[in-house]
């Protein structure tokens, strides 16, 4: 009998259908993998099972009975705990306090510290973790914090443990230890749900795998007898997107940007590449591969980055966006709400923000000039808002994204670093943004494109760099197969297939 059954589960976030009609069974005592590309919905599914998100439609059966979790505490008391990708802890408290946070032992009105420490020691010992319960949690390395989370789950009697990308911030040795621990937990009868896109780990510890793609179920299959190639094919298996055929062959111009041995400790290892006018250089890789970090370092947002970046043969300072902008670089950031727009300002004011000096004389803004420049790029991007004086807070994600791009078009940058330009954007706006990026290259600008959507990268990029875990693992010409790129991204084969 399955310990967990999911029937026809759907979940919508504003602007995206995260999960659609997903059904699966998880067998008791198994280690069950949830796999898929970035944005396939695997983390969302894990979070719904752990009570962090509420489902829109469908049903979850736990040990045969329907359950409704209104929050993570409901799930924990039922016996489902989650080990998070981002650790959710009170970092200023001790290990013991964190472990007992939901249910602090008391003696009368007072906190029973002795009991708290005793309980924590017992829980930590049960998974063989050697951690002092009185240590402040924030002082522990991530790998130990993770063990504390697992101990907490097991100690509270978890029958199901959900691991969301648990090895993404661990070293190789730490990851091996964790996998060993999961095997032991499995022997003790704990059911593990393992969310990851690392193939090796899945093949090492899991019994069954459920593959999701674009929020929909592809299949649930047994790991035994499954080849890595089969699994990769299941993950990408969509028909080649139609837009792939509109591939523009670039008319290459001069070299605009040359990056030599750019590195940032803890984020990515030295990378070198160049970008020519008219080129769209794609940066492929899984989440955490270091792509955004590279773009931010080039744009001067990473104070510890070192290496040399040349723009048209001249070395540029990495000391801040001001320097990058002056030389002709622009960055369309991944997180448009936090980094892209000032939501309390109007569309016009956002577009003119980087170019205020150009629309002003001696520090005084010329309203007509500002308006006409903003209007020009507002129209070019076909932003759907009543006027350029509209508040940006009320715009849809797609229109906000178009505004961020408009902002950098207005500043007439020669090289545009574009990070996830179509995330959370509806289909229509997506196509428009694609055409715009192609148009920029055709105009002779250089574009560095970061995207987690492989079809998007493959159809737009004239050349691809593949990143894995902070390393540049390959450079591919235009039109590689999706499989080649995926293999490099996930590290299935080190050979430069092609």
């Amino acid at each position: 009998m399955p310990i967990l059954s999911v029937h026809n589960l759907s979940k919508r976030f504003p602007g995206v259908q995260a999960l659609k009609d997903v059904s699966l069974d998880i067998q008791e005592g198994a280690c069950h993998a949830l796999m898929g590309e970035n944005g396939a919905g695997k983390s969302t599914l894990g979070k719904i099972l752990a009570g962090l998100y509420q489902l829109d439609e469908g049903e979850i059966l736990f040990q045969g009975k329907p359950v409704h979790f209104h929050g993570p505490l409901d799930a924990v008391s039922a016996g489902i705990s989650m080990v998070h990708q981002e650790l959710l802890f009170a970092e200023n408290l001790t290990v013991a306090e964190n472990l007992c946070l939901g249910d602090l032992p008391r003696k009368g009105p007072w906190l029973d510290r002795a009991e708290m420490v005793r309980r924590s020691k017992e829980w930590l010992a049960s998974i063989g973790a050697q951690i002092d319960p009185l240590q402040v949690l924030g002082e522990l390395p991530i790998s130990k914090q993770q063990l504390v989370q697992i101990a907490g789950g097991i100690g509270r009697g978890a029958k199901v443990l959900i691991f969301d990308e648990p090895t993404s911030s661990l070293s190789q040795a730490e990851a091996l230890k964790l996998l060993q621990l999961i095997k032991e937990l499995k022997k003790k009868g704990v059911t593990c749900i393992y969310v990851s896109h690392r193939l090796e780990e899945i093949f090492e510890i899991c019994d069954t795998v459920t593959v999701l793609r674009d929020g929909q179920l592809v299949d649930t299959v047994s790991i035994q007898g499954l080849s890595r190639d089969d699994l990769v094919r299941m993950m990408i298996g969509r028909e080649l997107a139609a837009s792939l055929e509109v591939h523009v062959t670039a008319t290459m111009g001069d070299e605009l940007l040359r990056v030599e041995n750019l590195a940032s400790a803890g984020k990515f290892h030295p990378v070198s590449f160049s970008l020519r006018a008219g080129e769209i250089l794609g940066l492929a890789g899984l989440v955490g591969a270091g792509r955004t970090e590279i773009a931010e370092a080039i744009f001067g947002l990473d104070p510890v980055a070192n290496g040399v970046v040349y723009f048209r043969g001249k070395r540029i300072s990495l000391k801040g966006p001001i320097h990058a902008m002056k030389t002709g670089l622009g960055l369309v950031p991944e997180d448009r709400k936090h980094h892209g727009l000032v939501l309390s300002m109007t569309a016009k004011e956002n577009v003119s923000l980087p170019i205020l000096d150009r629309v002003a004389t001696a520090g005084w803004i010329e309203p007509q000039k500002e308006r006409s420049i903003a209007q020009k790029f507002f129209d070019k991007m076909r932003v759907k808002a009543p006027t350029i004086d509209a508040s940006t807070a009320g715009l849809s994600g797609g229109n906000q994204q178009k505004l961020v791009i408009a902002k950098w078009l207005a500043s007439e940058t020669e090289v545009l670093l574009v990070d996830e330009p179509t995330r959370g954007v509806d289909v229509g706006a997506k196509a428009e943004i694609h055409n715009l990026i192609r148009g920029l290259a055709a105009e002779g600008k250089g574009v560095l494109l970061i995207s987690s959507e492989l079809p998007e990268l493959l159809s737009l990029a004239t050349r691809l760099i593949v990143m894995r875990e902070g390393n540049m693992v390959g450079e591919l010409p235009a039109n590689p197969t999706e499989e080649t790129v995926m293999r490099l991204m996930a590290g299935v084969s080190n050979a430069m297939a092609g």
Binding site: H338, G340, L356, G363, W364, I365, A393, S396, K407
Partner: protein, 334 residues
């Protein structure tokens, strides 16, 4: 117009006071005069407002940048007493010279105090509340130590300047009001039409996005405290001249009136929102409520309670209005 609601409330309060204030006989002209609606009461209200309002215009810029300046009252006192002490050594100078030196000193000291706040806030990464809480006591302490807690008289020339009639009746002193209006207009133009003003809104609205747009955050954040300090220096110059003396206890507690004025005038403590005209109107409203309690013969013991509620209610109404607008925008989208 953003401040329309505030104007309506102020006008309504004025009408109510005119209707219920009663009248008295003017001893000189023998005519019946409304207790509220007469030149000397109105100018008196404007004068009381002006010292708050001048500083509120500076404060509103700090608040737009998502900061706060608790030291503004202390900067007023420090500027006032240091200027007064310096002018004591210039008793034989020409009146014009005294006025000009006093003006330069008071404004300069305010500006430097603001620069000190600004550099600390932008370089140390400590919340401005803490920095300016500290400098609030430091500046007040400097004023206290230098004056040895005594009141310092200023040369009459400053009083002649601050109490000039500008061609009005002999018992009317419009200079503080004029300075307030000039400061407000300059502040409004600065915020609305200069690149620097726009950058303050951007940094306060979303500091990360401002950074990603290549703005010099440190310089922007420092500048608002410089402006606030300067506004305190201006207010101190006019105020000291007007009252003829300064002491280390001047403007004690004003920071809260000034912050309240900016907030009632539409500034959001979350940053990114606020206006100079609003700040002035906010100061006017608070002073008028105080005046109303006297004119309408209400129990003066309730003054603080009434002002406290008025501030909270005006901000709640403003927030409520903003949520409604936001909801309309979202509905329009769907």
């Amino acid at each position: 117009m953003q401040q329309f609601g505030l104007v309506v409330i102020i006008v309504a309060l004025g009408v109510i006071m005119s209707l219920f204030a009663g009248t008295h006989l003017d001893r000189v002209s023998g005519q019946t005069v409304n207790n509220f609606l007469n030149p000397s009461t109105l100018i008196q209200i404007a004068t009381d407002t002006s010292f708050f309002a001048i500083m509120a215009v500076g404060m509103t810029m700090v608040i737009i940048s998502a900061g706060i300046d608790l030291s503004i009252g202390s900067v007023y006192a420090m500027s006032a007493v240091l200027m007064s002490l310096a002018l004591q050594k210039m008793t034989n100078a020409a009146p014009v010279e005294q006025v000009l030196v006093g003006m330069a000193l008071s404004c300069g000291i305010g500006l430097l105090a603001g620069l000190f706040n600004g550099v600390m806030v932008s370089r140390l990464g400590v919340h401005p509340f803490i920095i300016t809480l500290g400098t609030m006591w430091v500046f007040r302490g400097i004023a206290f130590v230098t004056t040895k807690a005594m009141s310092i008289l200023v040369p009459e020339s400053l009083t002649h300047f601050a109490k000039a009639n500008l061609g009005m009746r002999r018992d009317l002193f419009p200079v503080p009001m004029v300075v307030m209006l000039v400061v407000t207009v300059i502040g409004a133009l600065f915020l609305q039409y200069t690149t620097w003003g726009r950058r303050i809104f951007a940094a306060g609205g979303n500091i990360e996005a401002a950074k990603y747009s290549g703005l010099n955050i440190n310089r922007i954040l420092s500048s608002v405290y410089v402006i606030a300090g300067l506004s305190a220096g201006i207010a101190a110059f006019v105020g000291t001249g007007f009252y003829g003396a300064s002491s280390s206890g001047d403007a004690q507690g004003y920071e809260l009136y000034v912050i309240a004025s900016a907030v009632v005038g539409g500034a959001s403590l979350n940053g990114g929102k606020g206006s100079a005209i609003g700040a002035m109107l906010g100061a006017l409203l608070i002073v008028m409520i105080r005046q109303a309690i006297r004119t309408l013969n209400l129990d003066q013991n309730y003054e603080w309670i009434i002002i406290g509620f008025a501030i909270v209610i005006s901000v709640v109404l403003d927030r409520w209005n903003a949520t409604r607008t936001q909801r309309r925008l979202v509905q329009a989208r769907q």
